[in-house]
């Protein structure tokens, strides 16, 4: 018995970490590599197994330039004047950003990182100019970016406003805090069905309001933008509580002395918020936006239940695109879409972390 204990004692440093490393290797590292390999192959199921054929970049070529281009990126036709304006404005802004970085303390790695981010932002701008701002249909990649950037911004603004009100010295604020936290406890599929019921224009609870505006015969599921809006509303209803609860916790830690000092000095509510409260909660706010973005890129349950991607492909997200490709037994294409998603997520989130959150945290430390 003693020798066994001694042996365990000796091996403890390995015994402690082996399960975690094993789980990560089997369920995280291996699938990552396997899906990368699959994205370069054509997988064909056959009786008792599957055939794999190495096809190089042809899966990526198909979704970016080939027959599936309309699905991932959208339909490209002529670029409108608005599109050209946007491209030129964005190009000059990005070039100015890079130029001003070379003026400050220049580091090669920082410059390369900024070039990558700028190139990515520029290509996304071109994508939006040729699809959305030229009146063409767009695919799942622009749709996901709209969900993430636009949807999460609105969620953040509403969540911040509610958190600010709930951090004030009001009676019953604990009750409101608990109440506002409730939607986060409902399962996403339940929320999706609930919003399908609520958004019904003929038999839903708001049908009276819709009909008085003359929208009684409108079927939101058959039009692109109404469907997108309602999915964004459902997503916001579900995720505002999360932003709210994190920001309330951040606002509670804001030091009262500074706020009172600013109040005595005669600063208004907006100036106090802008110059005293916001710099203290900015790192937390940036982090919560980052978490929401990463979550937002994975959005699949709400559009799947509410519209199943319809009408057409107009509410499909990248995750859902990958899933439909997988359902169609196109495993290679599915992995290629998934890796596109990974690529986009990593570039956007790393850029945001480096250029926004880190800047605020450093400013706070100084």
């Amino acid at each position: 018995m003693k020798t066994l204990n001694e042996w365990i004692d000796k091996q403890s440093r390995r015994l402690f970490i082996t399960p975690a490393v094993l789980l990560i290797l089997v369920f995280s590292v291996f699938p990552l590599i396997a899906s990368l390999v699959i994205s370069f192959t054509r997988v064909r199921p056959r009786a008792g197994g599957y055939n794999m054929r190495f096809v190089g970049f042809r899966n990526f070529k198909k979704i970016f330039f080939g027959s599936e281009q309309y699905h991932l990126l959208g339909t490209f036709e002529a670029i409108s004047a608005l599109g050209w304006c946007l491209i030129l404005v964005m190009l000059s802004a990005l070039l100015w950003w890079l130029y001003s970085y070379t003026k400050k303390d220049f580091k090669l790695i920082g410059f390369i990182g900024r070039v990558i981010s700028a190139a990515f932002i520029f290509s996304v701008t071109i994508l939006f100019s040729v699809t959305l701002f030229s009146g063409n249909n767009f695919g799942t990649l622009p749709m996901t970016i709209i969900y993430v950037i636009f949807g999460c911004s609105i969620q953040f603004l509403i969540g911040l406003g509610l958190a600010y009100i709930c951090s004030m010295n009001l009676k019953g604020r604990t009750f409101f805090r608990i109440l506002f936290f409730m939607p986060l406890m409902i399962t996403p599929v339940g929320i999706a069905y609930q919003w399908r019921m609520l958004a019904d224009m003929n038999r839903g609870p708001l049908s009276g309001i819709w009909q008085s505006f003359g929208f009684g015969d409108l079927a939101w599921g058959s039009l692109a933008w109404p469907a997108r809006t309602i999915i964004m509303i459902a997503d916001a209803w579900m995720w505002i509580p999360f932003i709210f609860i994190v920001l309330v916790a951040a606002l509670d830690t804001v030091s009262k002395d500074l706020v009172e000092a600013a109040d005595v000095d005669g600063a208004g509510k907006w100036l106090i918020f802008k110059d005293v409260i916001w710099p203290q909660i900015a790192p937390v706010a940036g982090t919560v936006v980052l978490i929401r973005w990463i979550e937002g890129f994975k959005l699949v349950d709400i559009p799947l239940v509410m519209t199943s991607g319809g009408p057409g492909i107009s509410t499909e997200t990248l995750t859902m695109h990958s899933w439909t490709q997988w359902r169609a037994l196109d495993f290679g294409g599915s992995s290629a879409v998934a890796y596109t998603l990974l690529f986009v997520t990593v570039i956007i989130c790393v850029s945001f972390f480096n250029f926004v959150i880190r800047k605020y945290s450093q400013a706070n430390q100084l």
């Binding site: 490393v21 590599i33 010295n169 038999r203």
Partner: protein, 233 residues
């Protein structure tokens, strides 16, 4: 009373009357937005199909007569389906929580107390072996569990032979023999694939997990640094 006075608090740290009115207005509006969908979900569960079908009905006993048929349906008529899925949910959440607590707390404790130095050459070797196993499985239709197991055994011996300097002659010869026999074994298994289809599945799975565990165990053994000690008695 002037309008601007409404938004001036009487004391520092207090909220003015106008501010209170505006704040409570927004709080109550959002409370309605949060509660109403949940209320609607709740009362719809007591509605009969004809109360849902034609126009919205809002209040029980006034707009419609609540009925328990939906609850009866999921609790007694189709009870097996309901309990089955609830049981699945409970099992999954319970065991995944237990598993993640055990694994996570062990790893967190170890990472906080012991220094680990990850060896990138080892990780690279692991990735290469994994990729070659994938090619063997995909291209030459070797059974996947067999390919993985052989790959991991190869990884272990190659790692010992290539990246460790102070190994004995005996171990080197074992590595050579293992390499040669593994290669032969792979080619053999390609030719007698049908045999393994009959018998090899269970054996190969056991082998896979054993070698995976052992490989990781010794992989970490080689990579920790010696300067800290875990205090255990």
């Amino acid at each position: 009373m002037q309008v601007s006075k409404l938004f001036e608090p009487k004391k520092i740290g207090e909220t003015s009357l106008g501010g209170k009115v505006v704040s409570y207005f927004f709080l109550i509006v959002w409370a309605i937005i949060v509660i109403f969908p949940i209320y609607w979900l709740f009362i719809t569960s007591f509605k009969l199909p004809e109360d849902v079908k034609f126009y919205p009905t809002y209040l029980p006993w006034i707009d419609f007569n609540p009925s328990l048929h939906a609850w009866e349906n999921i609790l007694f008529v189709d009870s097996e389906d309901t309990y089955h899925s609830y049981f699945n949910s409970i099992i999954i959440s319970f065991f995944s929580t237990i598993l993640s607590i055990i694994v996570g707390s062990l790893a967190a404790y170890a990472l906080a107390r012991i220094k680990y130095a990850p060896n990138f050459r080892t990780i690279f070797l692991f990735v290469m072996i994994m990729a070659s196993a994938f090619v063997i499985v995909g291209k030459y239709s070797v059974d996947w569990s067999l390919g993985t197991a052989v790959g991991l055994v190869l990884f272990y011996f190659l790692w010992r032979a290539l990246l460790k300097t102070n190994i004995s002659f005996v171990f080197k010869s074992i590595t050579l023999i293992a390499l040669i026999s593994a290669t032969c074994f792979l080619f053999l298994s390609v030719s007698i694939n049908s045999f393994f289809e009959e018998n090899g599945q269970v054996l190969a799975s056991i082998m896979l997990f054993m070698t995976l565990g052992l490989g990781v165990f010794f992989f970490i053994k080689g990579t920790y640094s010696n300067d800290t000690y875990l205090c255990c008695s």
